[in-house]
Amino acid sequence: MSTPARSESDIAVVGAGPAGLAAALAAAGFGCAVTLIDSGPAIGGQVYRQSLLGPGRGTGAPGPGLPPRLHRAARHWRIRHLAATSAWHAEPEPDGGFRLRLAGPDRPEPAPGGQAGGARPTVLRARAVVLATGAAELVLPFPGWDLPGVTTAGAAQALLKSQGVTAGRRVLVSGSGPLLLPVAAGLAEAGVRVAAVLEATAARVGARHAVRFAAYPGKLREAAGYAGTLARYHVPVRAGHAVVACDGAGQVERATIARLDRNWRPVPGSRRDEAVDAVHVSFGFSPALDLPRLLGCADAQHPTRPTAAVRCDADLATSVAGVFAAGEVTGVGGAQAAELEGYLAGASAARYLGQIHPAAYAARTRALRARLGPARRFAALLDHAYPLRPGWLDWPEPGTIACRCEETRWAQIGQAVAAGAADVRSVKGLTRCGMGYCQGRICGPIVQYAVAAAAGRSLGEVGDLHSRPVATPVALDAIAGEG
């Protein structure tokens, strides 16, 4: 147990992806002292993930590098970047400020001077907060989804981008959404045999939206680039299909592919097995709401997906005075919208602290708002183009793992609802799902969707597992050492 190292800052920005970096730069540009907190080893977040293998040791993975305009955040004299640091708790204080509690990595690097962790504060007081905590990948369960070799598509991309490592030699990429193509293209270029890309959304559903994408030629060029790469490596892209089961002794050896009807129910007789040693799955993203909920920020349930997003006004102020939000946590919109929102939220936080005159604020944010409109419309288009359909509820078997941590079985969810549990919290109490290490980060949306379907209620009515006293699991001495 040690005395907590306290620190003060005008603004705490949580998350160093495009939204957090832009917010930090904007606020610092208006004269605010900024502390930028991020759990990663380097700035960039998930989308601009940098190589861990050192400068000049690129991993060869395709994808955008961190733009120089954002990289400036690493060197700005008013921005202090705390890398490999988790904000595990946040609360408003009586004087109107905020207190964040911070923890370092699982295993601190021994500093040359002897003291592990160096000058990392464990308590940060800030007068305003910008939440740029990003989003978590959504995965839907199927028999064998917990076998080693099944990873999220984002994990496959992160391993490749940061370390040049791949999880399998012959793989399938399955799920729904715009992440599947770039992940598959990256793996193919790295020498992985991608047996197929399986997009659950039917081709005719996608075609209905295609004409509207014509207004975004840059995005179309990007998608065409990935499609061209996949064609070059003879990787088939099959709409209306998905991996619905995996099997193997101690790791994935076979995946079962099924054709799906328009509601994602497997078409009888369409199942066939494919020999693979890895399957990379993704069904989109859901905003990371732990810190917003701890701070008391109101959020809004997505009408059709088991996700919610922080509610913001036009200036990206949340329902809590002094707390602003930007990027995926306000609704999943991609890197471009996230960066624009970051500049706006940073400026709004600076105005809140009296660093900008309201007239100057209006003038300085006008162009940003004009660019945000199309970026958000594009995000809404993607959201509509990849709807989550209820047929996935037919994929798991009674014995399929629903909660990977507590090893709750799929049948137990239905049994709990049949026994009278009509919301996610009651199901958690009866089955232990969501009580393990990850605190429902993986199974929370799955259980929310399943309970809503089984109880005949809306997603908003059954609640979720985002409200936790500790936003990210930490060692007990971090809590004990906190004053």
Binding site: S39, P41, Q46, S51, L52, L53, G54, R57, A84, P105, D106, R107, E109, A136, E137, D146, L147, P148, G149, V150, T151, T152, G154, A155, A156, A158, L159, S162, Q163, G164, V165, T166, A167, G250, Q251, I401, R404, C405, E406, E407, G436, Y437, C438, R441, I442, P473, A475, L476, D477
Partner: protein, 90 residues
């Protein structure tokens, strides 16, 4: 090992990996797919989400129990072991 590579062991078996890799990356690069057995089912687990959120990839290394292999860099001389029954971290 000096320079570009780090030498470590997994369950007693000597391995090496490029410096800077996480333990998870280093194990995958050496063909190891799983390094944890779940508490109640004894089911094998490895990397799943890969960004520190799912805690599937917990591993023991030296005196440290149940660290996230997807985040923690591998160091020279690390003795990495299968995490068989992760104690609550304390």
């Amino acid at each position: 090992m000096t320079g570009d590579r780090v030498r470590f062991s997994f369950d007693g078996q000597p391995m090496d990996a490029p410096r800077g890799m996480t333990i998870g990356g280093a194990l995958l690069a050496n063909g190891i797919r799983s390094w944890r057995l779940t508490r109640s089912g004894g089911r094998a687990r490895g990397v799943f989400r890969g960004i520190g959120a799912c805690f599937d990839c917990l591993v023991d290394v030296g005196g440290d129990r149940a660290v996230r292999a997807c985040l923690v860099p591998v160091r020279d001389g690390d003795e990495v072991r299968t995490c068989a029954s992760p104690a609550e971290r304390e």
